[in-house]
């Protein structure tokens, strides 16, 4: 069965530290890839998405992600996190009308 794995359940960083959140999926066909963010008490918002083309995609708020097809991975990165990045981050993989989400990674940024 198709699945999406996020390796880190909870990540704690200090401001200005670099961030990388891992996401791997199991599906051999063509997929669309997404990262969503959920700030405390808010709904999910799209950070970035990949459909085709350049495997390095840039999103909002300085986030980027790299699609590595051979590794079935779509890791999220940010060079320097801020306190306001404290949130839960979800990787999602879509194909056809289906979309599966990872379990989420909670990011806490200490001021």
């Amino acid at each position: 069965a198709q699945s999406v794995s996020q390796h880190n359940h909870h990540v704690i960083l200090s401001e200005a530290a670099s961030l990388e959140l891992g996401c791997n999926y199991s599906y051999g066909g063509t997929v669309n890839l997404f990262w969503y963010v959920q700030y405390p008490g808010q709904h999910l918002q799209l950070l970035l998405k990949y459909f085709s083309g350049d495997p390095l995609v840039k999103g909002i708020k300085g986030f980027e992600a790299e699609f590595i097809k051979s590794k079935f991975s779509f890791n999220l990165r940010k060079p320097s996190v801020q306190w306001s990045d404290t949130a839960e981050y979800f990787c999602a993989v879509g194909w056809g009308n289906d979309m599966r989400f990872g379990a989420g990674t909670r990011l806490t940024v200490k001021p």
Binding site: V4, H43, L46, W95, M99, A103, G104
Partner: protein, 113 residues
């Protein structure tokens, strides 16, 4: 710009009762979705709808019923609520075509006692 709204935002009910969660979107998006969010599981798809009167099961449909008589509304009904259905429920919508992002509502926190 109302977007996508859900009601109620919070609901407490008892085992065995019927509960309906409402979802309304103002964009005329073709597709609408219901997810549940549980700790350790992320979001899991319950049901989705490609258009009015067209619905289909997702990953975890058991115990839920949906309908879509109008494009803008997509209610989710728990016919006989169980404690395992305590969760946060999110409605989402998107335009036709598989490549478009989904837009999420604010969520409904449901507690079944």
């Amino acid at each position: 710009d109302a977007g996508i709204t859900q009601s109620p935002r919070y609901k407490i009910t008892e085992t065995g009762r019927q509960v309906t969660l409402m979802c309304h979107q103002t964009w005329s998006h073709s597709y609408m979705f219901w997810y549940r969010q549980d700790l350790g599981h992320g979001l899991r798809l319950i049901y989705y709808s490609a258009a009015a009167d067209i619905t289909d099961k997702g990953e975890v449909p058991d115990g839920y019923v949906v309908s879509r008589s109008k494009t803008e509304n997509f209610p989710l009904t728990l016919e006989s609520a169980t404690r395992s259905q305590t969760s946060v429920y999110f409605c989402a919508s998107r335009t036709a075509g598989p490549y478009n992002e989904q837009f999420f509502g604010p969520g409904t926190r449901l507690t079944v006692l």
